[in-house]
């Protein structure tokens, strides 16, 4: 199995995490975690509620800074870099609880995703950069107008990926969308960044089986296009179908890693899930985001 794993590891890691640690008071949310994601790979992170998955994403994406350990992105040490710098380097993420810009239209939400690609925002010289940006926004020379048109067309193209779900709602404010549609907007926004690495935090939370299946196809499509994806997901069948590799976390640490099938039968993994939740009402498909609990019971299925 170790050999198999080694073979499936691509040569050039896009993301390398080593010994990442984050404490919250007495609690160690992420504990000496190491992880690599190769170019074009889809790696899933699973684990019971409170395992530290979202915290891990926050550390990678620069919203939170680790107490120890390092993050290397495309061979460059990016530990502790701010979220906005990481976005500029090509890292995009979605949020577990959905964070769309409520009073912005769907189209504008997606366009914010392309923010780092705008030429006007590139000059980072203090004082001069912002003033140039202001001048460009007010004067709007043809090049700026052309860029905006191009991005708009592209944003519509991205939204079309979700079929008829979003396209008719392009000009609707995001707060008027259904929960599932907001998740779609988040993914569209992430794609508009042209990410080198995409972090998805439970993209199907709160979706019904049909919607989940659609989302699975979309992620599969992204993967086929060569996008590198790090995925947090509680729905195990989805993880099994999509992942090249699965990393299992518990209490902030990695307790297993490997091919999906191997991980699913790992006793330590089963133990971790059983230890956290009694086997019980799996509500994977209730279409409601119950926030904390509920979803955790689902992975127990792999114990069958």
């Amino acid at each position: 199995m170790a050999d198999q794993l080694k073979n499936s590891l691509p040569k050039k890691p896009l993301l390398e995490i080593a010994g990442l640690t984050r404490h919250f008071g007495g609690l160690t949310a992420v504990n000496g975690l190491s992880l690599t994601v190769g170019q074009g790979e889809l790696v899933s992170v699973i684990g019971p509620n409170g395992a530290g998955k979202t915290t891990l994403f926050n550390l990678i994406s620069g919203l939170d800074a680790p107490d120890a350990g390092s993050v290397t992105f495309e061979g460059r040490d990016v530990t502790g870099l701010s979220a906005e710098r990481l976005a500029a380097l090509g890292l995009a993420r979605s949020f577990q609880h959905g964070r769309v810009f409520g009073n912005l239209s769907v189209l504008d939400n997606v366009l914010v995703g392309a923010h780092t690609r705008l030429r006007a925002v590139k000059p980072r010289i203090p004082l001069v950069g912002p003033l140039v940006e202001l001048a460009l926004a007010l004067i709007r020379p043809p090049s700026v107008r052309a860029e905006e048109e191009r991005l708009r067309a592209e944003a519509k193209e991205i939204v079309r990926m979700f079929g008829e779900r979003l396209t008719p709602r392009l000009d609707k404010p995001a707060h008027s969308l259904s929960y599932a549609n907001r998740r779609r907007v988040e993914i569209a926004r992430a794609l508009a960044l042209h990410p080198r690495l995409l972090l998805l935090d439970e993209p199907t939370a709160g979706m019904n089986p049909t919607e989940t299946a659609e989302m699975l196809e979309i992620i599969r499509g992204l993967k086929a296009r060569g996008l590198t994806i790090l995925l947090i997901e509680h729905k195990l069948d989805l993880v099994m179908q999509l992942s090249d590799r699965v990393v299992v976390m518990d209490h902030g640490a990695r307790i297993a890693e490997g091919l999906p099938a191997a991980v699913a039968s790992d006793p330590a993994v089963i133990e971790a899930y059983l230890g956290h939740k009694a086997v019980g009402a799996a509500n994977q498909d209730t279409g409601q985001d119950t926030g904390q609990d509920g979803d955790a019971a689902v992975p127990v299925r792999i114990a069958h």
Binding site: E84, N103, V112
Partner: protein, 612 residues
Amino acid sequence: MLPTTLGPWLDYTINGLVIGNIYALLAVGLALIFGVSHLINFAHGSVYMVGAYIGWLCVTKLALPLPVTFVTVAAGCGLLGAVIERVGLRPLRNAPRIAPLLATIGLSVVLDQSAQLLFSPDPRALPTQLPTWRIAIGGGSIGALDLLIAGVGIGSAGLLYGFLRFTKLGWAVRATALDRDAAQQCGVDVDKVNRTVFAIASALGGVSGLLVGMYYNTIDPNMGFQAGLKGIVAQLIGGVGNVPGAIAGSLLLGLIESYGIALFGTSYRNLFAFVALILILVLRPNGLFARARRLPPEPLTGTFIAPSRPLVLPKWAVWALAAAALALPLVVQQPYLLQTLGNAWLYALLALSLTLVAGTVGQVSLGHAGLLAIGAYASSLLALDAGVPVLLAVPLAGLVAAALGTALVYPAFRLRGHYVSIATLAVGEIVTLVILNWESLTRGPIGVTGIPPLSVAGKPLVSGQWVYWVPLVVLLAFAALQSRLLNSHLGRTLRAIREDDVAARSYGVDLNRYKGLAFAVAGFIAGVGGALMAHFYSYINHETFPAPVSMLALTMVILGGLGNVAGAVLGAAVLVGLPELFRAAAEYRMLIYGVVLLLLIRFRPQGLLGTV
């Protein structure tokens, strides 16, 4: 000038502790309220003022004995607190987080203005019936009133401790402060807890007002504003929601002020508090006594501004309205009317500026009048002292206001939500205080006289039509620019920051850069507005642009719809124009604004034209 013996220092220390004790009575209440409702209560200072006036009635009109006066004040203010909670805040429980904050501002305006109407704006004496002996200790001395204040402070702290620790309701208060939802699920009546906390906090605040009135032997209807701010500062020093921290912070603030006065003089008193506030907010936003760095709790999405569907005026309507406004002086010739509307257009510049930062970027600034003041002083002084032609001085003043305003608020860029409001409020106060104290530049309390009017080719533009046209043309130009800005990529970027700054950062939006841009543009617009005001008024001083002007601007912005350019103009026209045209007596005007603000928050939070 500096005292060299120990005696005066002892006096300053005692004085600092006494004042600190008074702040503590305010700060503890604010901390309790923050604990259970996560709200910084801007109406707290007004309750303190009401306490002083109830005390004044008891002492001078009813000649009640001192203990009865105290009980009456506590009861009266406690009741007021419960009423504030019931009518002002409970209906807003599920409203966006900005709503209760604005409601407390509205309530404070209403209370202050009512007191002014009832008791006149003039200060009154509040004599104590206490004996006048003083005990000399080590070169300093302590009077009966000092001891009373200390006693009341310590006594209240003891009572409060007992209440929180040993009563069922006190337990409920602590449970609610710890975790509101969990407490509710355990059967805690959260409404009752809130009511109780507001009552207790307000009773303490009222007693504090009474004590201060006695201490300085003077009270006035506006005494609450500064005091409420001091309470907030003290609370922030100790860490918001932290009751023992609030007491420590208050004593510290009292000492800082007292020693500061000893070293630099009385007129700097408030400056120390506000500079301390900014320092605390920037360096230790969780207070002096907090330990670990904390992440903001999730999720924060869409909690600040209400979702809304703005009313979009068709292009032709905008052009028609602008043309009609421009043509008005051809039809209407009464100078008074034109002057009033001209004034409304000047205020509309302020509203335009505020709606950009408060509405579009979601940074609810409460010190916006400070930008007017900077612009007004810059332009006047450039014209008078540097001999710059007025036509050039006005845009230069805009640049000065843009640069200075952004630099002053810059430290607060890392703050969020209510903290931004507090910081900007403090910045506004700092501007006023610097103007007052930097006499060599600003002429201090005397103000600037003989400011030359705007003139073109040596012809001063002072007649009725010009007083109308100049502001209108400038306003239309800025409104057009701002609309253009909002239609560009900057518009969506700025609004994204308002909607969810964490998500915005994750998509590469550098918050400092864009907040800085917004404040710079806003500073320029308000600076030009202030400069025009100065050249039309020909006289300004540090009180020409007081804090209530900031509140007025906020009311205009909310009336029109947050972030809404047309709304800002409409809000200014309605709030400045209508009361004037209906000849509403000047003294009722602020009261009307306060009531309008409250009604809007309650019944039409998206304003007339909607949030954009």
